[in-house]
Structure formats: structure tokens, C-alpha cells
């Protein structure tokens, strides 16, 4: 029965623990680590590798673990600071120093939600799906509102070296600037290639990009 659906359930009797006493009142306490550990173990027994999505996707790094345990609670300033510093230390800039690529390619990357799902072809380039959450070019009306509007980002902020570096780092690892941000860490997690990163930076920071018109 071990590898069957009906046999897979943890015998319920063995699972009952005292959870009724869980306190949610303490605003800065993380979730009960015992419950979190059991939830993680349960998930590892309940998912199966499919295509490129193997079970190691459930192995959390420190940032993912902290952001999970403090979700729905106030994130203490010291924890936020730790997450940001550790993630800032991961940011890598291109060896040739070139941060701005082709905004036309960046627009295609911003439109594409392809990549890393178990039914996606891992040989095809992944997108960043920026429009899922952000307004960018005013020509695209189908944009989400999970993140702020980036329309006229470069024009408003200024086409400076510092801003180009900031955009690179933000796309590379958003957790470096905003702990437990909803934005994926496109460089750190190897979602985008170095050239794709440049192209996305261009979409925001090239004066000729439709985002800055």
C-alpha cells in the first residue's frame, strides 16, 4: 500500500498533536516551527517529480524559509535586514560591465510567462512575465497589479549609471531591497540569462524603450 494514493496518507492517529494552543496574538513570532516542519514533511510526501520540476524545488533556502514562517505576521526589522543583506551579497554584475541590452528583446521577455513549469520545455528560453504583475509599455493594456506600475520608469528616475545598476540588481535579486518581496529573483535563481537580464534592463532604462515614451 505504500506507493498508492490511499496508502500514502500518514495514519491520521499518529499525526494528532496539540495544535489547539497555537497562539496568533504575538505579532512578531514566527509560525510554530514544529507545525512548519510537519507541513514541509507532508508536502515532500505529497508531490512527485514531473519533467524539469523535481522534488528539490521544495527544499527552501533561508530566505524562503524565513519569509514562509513570518508570512501573515509582522516581519521584525532585524530579520528583514538579515534577508536583504544576504541577498544583496548574491548580486553579480556582468564581467564586461554592460548592463543595457536590446529593449525589443526585453519586451518579448516581459510578455512571456513560459518557463520552469513542469509542462514547459526546458530547452526553450524562459520569460520573466513582467506584465503579469506590472504596467510597463502603455501599449499593453493587459497588465497585472501585483507590483507597482513601471511606466516611464527610466524617464522619471533618470537615465543614470546608479539607476541602471539598481535596476540590474533589483531584477537580479529583489529580496536585496525588499525582504519577502513577491518578485522572483531572476538572476540569483538563474531564471534569466545574463543577456536576457540586459534586455529587461533596457526595457526599463533605454530612453528609446516604449516604457519611457
Amino acid at each position: 500500500m505504500r506507493n498508492t494514493i490511499l496508502g500514502r496518507g500518514i495514519a491520521a492517529g499518529a499525526m494528532v498533536m496539540v495544535v489547539g494552543g497555537l497562539l496568533y496574538g504575538c505579532a512578531t513570532a514566527p509560525a510554530d516551527p514544529e507545525v512548519s516542519a510537519r507541513a514541509t514533511a507532508m508536502m515532500k510526501a505529497s508531490f512527485k517529480a514531473h519533467g524539469q520540476a523535481k522534488l528539490d524545488r521544495l527544499d527552501q533556502d533561508e530566505t524562503q524559509r524565513l519569509c514562509s514562517d513570518y508570512a501573515g505576521r509582522a516581519l521584525p526589522a532585524s530579520v528583514a535586514e538579515k534577508i536583504q543583506q544576504e541577498n544583496l551579497a548574491t548580486v553579480r554584475y556582468p564581467a564586461d560591465g554592460k548592463l543595457v541590452g536590446d529593449w525589443k528583446s526585453g519586451e518579448k521577455i516581459a510578455q512571456s510567462g513560459q518557463g520552469f513549469q513542469y509542462n514547459d520545455d526546458p530547452k526553450k528560453p524562459a520569460g520573466a512575465n513582467c506584465y503579469a504583475c506590472h504596467q510597463l509599455s502603455p501599449k499593453e493594456l493587459s497588465y497585472g497589479t501585483m507590483g507597482p506600475s513601471l511606466y516611464r520608469f527610466g524617464k522619471l528616475r533618470g537615465f543614470t549609471d546608479d539607476n541602471r545598476k539598481y535596476v540590474w540588481a533589483k531584477v537580479y535579486n529583489a529580496e536585496a531591497f525588499s525582504a519577502c518581496s513577491n518578485m522572483p529573483r531572476f538572476g540569483h535563481q538563474h531564471i534569466l540569462t545574463e543577456q536576457q537580464m540586459r534586455d529587461v534592463v533596457a526595457l526599463l532604462m533605454d530612453p528609446a524603450s516604449p516604457v519611457n515614451q
Partner: protein
């Protein structure tokens, strides 16, 4: 005839949906558009065809043992479907496990009707065409028998309460290449992905509004989808590995969302984009 009719209904529904949702040059939200087209469809939810097929399946002797679901206890007694879905997931002492509807149906197929688990799970989800899942038909029927009934997942039962708390942690669990948790997209009010409005499932009102509509007929897929399907496909988009049908994690997350909907009137199977 049913399949032709289904295709026609689906085509009609898709056309109406597109016309209403996108016809207003984005002057209205997607949600308003869908509300309008639901109204336009009135009582013509194609899920009724799945409900009818499920009812027939429920009453007919099935499987190697030729036993009907009249022996299947969904928690309110053998064969009782009225109000059963509104009280699931729940703890079943005969299986010593908390189960949602789909897992309980599988249990009855295996333990009462004599199917092997492999046979009973060959088609977990249909494709809107010739590939049809018994769970989608049976799910639509059983759920329809809770329409108008208030959600009442037995959270005071210790096994269910435990699964509820584990499901809550799962909801906030970040992982994978994109750091996504359920809460990433479903933890704030008034957000959308592209033009799709997102329910805030971290709040009771949001969980109530969303949970009480599943199973649902998906116009874009021409298929009735169960809650197991909903979770399975969310995790695909979350870039996680595949959530297994009937797994504890699927039941824990369902217990969390269904439990949060307690007190709200069940209103499915609904019709959705």
C-alpha cells in the same frame, strides 16, 4: 448528443464571455464582466450535464463487485449526498484519515466496488472532450446536492483541525525557482494577474467567495473542474513539482480553504472563465 450539446454550450458561453469581458474596452473589471455573462447564461450552466452523468453513476451498480455508491458514506451515512460536500474534508474512522470528496470517492471505489486503485485513477482529470473523469461527474453531482447549504467543515474534530493548521502553513510555504507561495498571488486584496482578478484567500471573505464555487465548469476548457484539479494546476503555475491526487497535502490545503469558508452558503458547481 450530449457531447455535441456540450460543445455548443461551451462555444456559446466562450463567445458570450469574450464579448462581454473584452467588449467594454476595459471599462469594467474582469469580475464584473464574468458576473454579467453568468447572468446572461442564466440557468444554462453546462455543469448540469456533468451533474446528471454523476447522478446516474452514483445510483448504478459499478465495478467488479457491482456495488453502487448507496453503500458509500461521505460522512452523513451510507449513500447520503444531501449536504455532504459542505462538511468535507472530514475524518473517516474506517480509513483513519481525513479525506476530501475525491479521495473518499476513490476509497469507496476501491473498498466497496472492487476497483484496483490503478483502474480507479486512470483518468483523474478530463480534457473537455472524449477523455472524461468520473471524479468530475461525481464531484459535480455530489457538490450540487449541497447547494444552498452552509459550509460546515468539522474543525472541532482533532484530525481535521490538525490538517487545517498544516494546510495553513502550506498556504504560506515559499519554494521553487520563483519563490512562490499560494499567498504570493492570493494574499492581498484587489490584485490581479494580467486582467484576471485574484481572490484574497488569506481572508475569510475571500476564501468563502472562492471555495463555495468549486467544482466549476470552466468555459475556456469545456470541462467541470474539481478542487483537486484547481490545486494541482495552481502548483504547476507556482513552478512546484506535481501535487499528487488525493495526497495529504492536497487534503490539508483543501481543509484550510474549506474550513475558512465555514458559515458561507455553498453555491457550486459554478461557471467560470
Amino acid at each position: 448528443m450530449p457531447s455535441t450539446m456540450r460543445r455548443r454550450l461551451a462555444a456559446l458561453a466562450s463567445a458570450s464571455a469574450l464579448a462581454l469581458v473584452f467588449g467594454g474596452a476595459f471599462a469594467q473589471s474582469t469580475e464584473e464582466g464574468i458576473a454579467q455573462y453568468r447572468e446572461a447564461l442564466q440557468d444554462g450552466n453546462p455543469a448540469e450535464l456533468w451533474e446528471a452523468r454523476g447522478e446516474e453513476m452514483w445510483k448504478k451498480p459499478r465495478g467488479p463487485k457491482q456495488v453502487s455508491f448507496a453503500a458509500c458514506d461521505l460522512g452523513l451515512g451510507p449513500g447520503v449526498v444531501k449536504g455532504a460536500y459542505a462538511q468535507m474534508p472530514r475524518y473517516f474512522p474506517d480509513a483513519n484519515r481525513v479525506m476530501d470528496l475525491e479521495t473518499r470517492l476513490l476509497w469507496c471505489m476501491v473498498h466497496q466496488q472492487g476497483y484496483t486503485e490503478a483502474d480507479a485513477t486512470k483518468i483523474k482529470f478530463g480534457d473537455g472532450g472524449s477523455k472524461r473523469s468520473d471524479y468530475e461527474a461525481l464531484g459535480a453531482y455530489v457538490a450540487s446536492q449541497s447547494r444552498g447549504v452552509k459550509m460546515n467543515v468539522p474543525l472541532d474534530e482533532p484530525h481535521v483541525r490538525d490538517m487545517f493548521h498544516l494546510g495553513e502553513r502550506m498556504f504560506f510555504f515559499r519554494g521553487g525557482t520563483h519563490d512562490f507561495a499560494c499567498a504570493t498571488c492570493h494574499g492581498d486584496d484587489g490584485k490581479r494577474i494580467r486582467l484576471q482578478d485574484l481572490p484574497n484567500l488569506s481572508k475569510v471573505e475571500g476564501a468563502r467567495k472562492a471555495y463555495t464555487t468549486w467544482p466549476a465548469y470552466r468555459v475556456s476548457q469545456g470541462e467541470v473542474r474539481t478542487f483537486q484539479w484547481r490545486l494541482n494546476d495552481c502548483f504547476r503555475q507556482q513552478r512546484f513539482p506535481e501535487l499528487e491526487f488525493g495526497s495529504d497535502a492536497s487534503i490539508a490545503l483543501t481543509a484550510y480553504l474549506a474550513g475558512r469558508a465555514n458559515g458561507a452558503e455553498y453555491n457550486g458547481p459554478a461557471i467560470k472563465r
